[in-house]
């Protein structure tokens, strides 16, 4: 880009201080922690790749999800995924996938999705529990900061007017129309609702369901786990919420990409967000 056009742009656009330093730091800590939690969690899942509903795994009812390997007629390893009794062949991805030696191996999730890459429950648990603490402490700091600094009230809580415009916001999102100018300084209403859901529903739920799997934590009020259907149900919810978070991240990154990758990235690194003076193209 030429100097001249830069100067012209600078006149028309302003850099707006969008994210404070604590929010930026905690955002990136969260990115690292959640990524490692997901991948080490998938490794842990591989130690017993089946999900149940109920207090135990052996209730007389079959698992709701099961990922396993089998050998087919020609003696080749195949991956099999069974959901509510429906069987799918998932060789290469689920049940059986290639290891570093290129050989198909019995494993629930492929090695590129797990930490560590091979089946190693003890090490996966160490990663998972270490980053669980980092994630929880970071999350508590974020909530405390958001309340005290009024980030929550100012930036995240939707106003009545915004809530009434929710239908328009959905239509805009579906058409990939995004606010420009002054409006782009604020989160839009769908964005606010999504962030609030993730911060105050999904993330606390995934932590709580993790704790529900702890025989120690279960003894705090014997039976509290049954509110969620029992320990094995809690394990299933933990797994499902983890994937809902993945879905959130995919949509989040998609929105980041289509609304200006570098502008968004810069605002989450330096805090400065370029506000275009002109209307959205």
């Amino acid at each position: 880009m030429e100097q001249g056009s830069n100067a012209e742009r600078a006149a028309a656009n302003t850099l707006y201080y969008r994210h404070t330093l604590p929010v930026r730091v905690m955002h990136w800590i969260n990115v690292i922690a959640l990524t490692i939690l997901l991948m080490s969690g998938l490794n842990i899942f591989g130690a017993h790749p089946a999900l149940y509903w109920g207090k135990s795994s052996y209730t007389g009812r079959p698992p709701i999800l099961e990922i396993e390997s089998a050998t087919d007629a020609s003696n080749k390893l195949t991956g099999v995924t069974r959901i509510f009794g429906h069987e799918f062949v998932t060789t290469g991805v689920l049940g059986a996938s290639k290891g570093s030696d290129g050989e198909l191996m019995n494993r629930a999730f492929p090695s590129w999705l797990t930490i560590p890459d091979g089946r190693w429950l003890a090490m996966a648990r160490q990663w998972h529990l270490f980053f669980a603490w980092i994630f929880v402490i970071n999350g508590l700091c974020y909530v405390a900061y958001s309340v005290v600094s009024r980030h929550l009230a100012r930036d995240l809580a939707p106003t009545g007017t915004e809530l009434r415009s929710i239908r328009q916001s959905i239509v805009d999102h579906l058409h990939f129309r995004h606010p420009a100018g002054e409006a782009s300084k604020r989160y839009n209403v769908l964005q606010k609702i999504t962030y609030l859901t993730v911060i105050f529903v999904l993330l606390p739920l995934v932590i709580l369901m993790g704790l529900a799997m702890s025989p120690g934590a279960d003894s705090l009020w014997p039976g509290w786990v049954d509110i969620f259907g029992g320990r094995q149900s809690a394990r299933t919810i933990h797994f499902i919420v983890a994937w809902l978070l993945v879905a959130f991240v995919l949509i989040h990154v998609f929105e980041v990409v289509i609304t200006g990758v570098w502008n968004n990235l810069r605002s989450m690194i330096t805090g400065r967000y370029r506000v275009d003076a002109e209307v959205s193209k």
Binding site: S57, F130, M213
Partner: protein, 258 residues
């Protein structure tokens, strides 16, 4: 928004994202194989133990279930028949010659026969067994509270841990006998029992006959099967790998409350 030509900067971003992912995976695998990093991660166990011990009352009780919640069959995991000639000889005579040796830092070491253990007060509990792998099974256990056994041998003031030595070798050549250890908080917990019955029948060999430890606020591998000898110690550093248990020596947490 125009999607027909995908912006090169966006492509660059997605490539960078994929690259960062690959670096992360490779980095984590490298770190797992170093000496220092697992040690750093291992500190979590201390934090978790201190946090749980701080929040939980010392005698907080594990959930107990009604009969209707019992698993139709109690899963046997790990060893189903110890590869140990002495154990097999004991088993073939219905453990008539079995003696549970309780010693170490005690005033009065005692060897308990099965009959003597059964004559002590008993506790029956229907609890959930949570394996570190992720599965759970619910079973009804009857046994003697460890407290009653400890009272008979009178531990000295120096005792900090109770170590359980087991009959099942973990190596195919008959070496590396299974062992476990718990601290005194768990040793004196009312639900910590030496179980000799499962689901109203004599404890089957597959589930740890004749005696298996139940330590209900921790994961399954703490519940040592085939207990032959109990040793009260002030440190387990000199026993086997020094980490306080067979699986602990393989990298699992000593405190298995989560």
């Amino acid at each position: 928004m125009n999607f027909s030509k995908f912006h090169p900067r966006r492509r660059l971003f997605l490539r960078a994202l994929a690259g960062a992912g690959a670096v992360l995976v490779a980095g984590c695998d490298k770190l797992s194989k170093t000496e220092w990093f697992p040690k750093l991660l291992g500190n979590t166990e201390i934090l978790t133990r201190k946090a749980q011990r701080m929040v939980l009352p010392r005698k907080s009780m594990a959930q107990e279930f009604p009969e209707s919640d019992r698993s139709p069959e109690f899963r046997s995991n790990g060893t189903a028949m110890p590869n140990n000639p002495q154990y097999k000889a004991l088993a073939s005579s219905g453990f008539a010659a079995y003696g549970l040796e309780v010693g170490g830092l005690v005033e009065k070491p005692v060897i308990f026969s099965l009959e003597e253990l059964r004559a002590l007060p008993s506790r029956t509990q229907i609890t959930r067994h949570d394996c570190v792998e992720g599965w759970s099974a619910i079973g009804k256990w009857k046994g003697v509270p460890l407290t009653a056994v400890l009272a008979a041998v009178r531990p000295t003031a120096a005792v900090r841990y109770v170590v359980f030595h087991c009959a099942d070798p973990m190596e195919s050549d008959g070496t590396s006998p299974y062992y476990e250890s718990i601290d005194m908080d768990d040793a004196y917990h009312p639900q910590t029992i030496l179980a000799y019955e499962l689901n109203d029948k004599a404890l089957p060999i597959a589930n740890g006959a004749p005696i298996r430890l139940r330590v209900e606020r921790q994961l399954g591998y703490k519940h040592a099967k085939y207990v032959m000898r109990i040793e009260l110690v002030d440190s387990f550093e000199k026993i086997a790998g020094g980490k306080g248990g067979y699986w602990e020596d393989q990298g699992y947490e000593w405190y298995a409350g989560i």
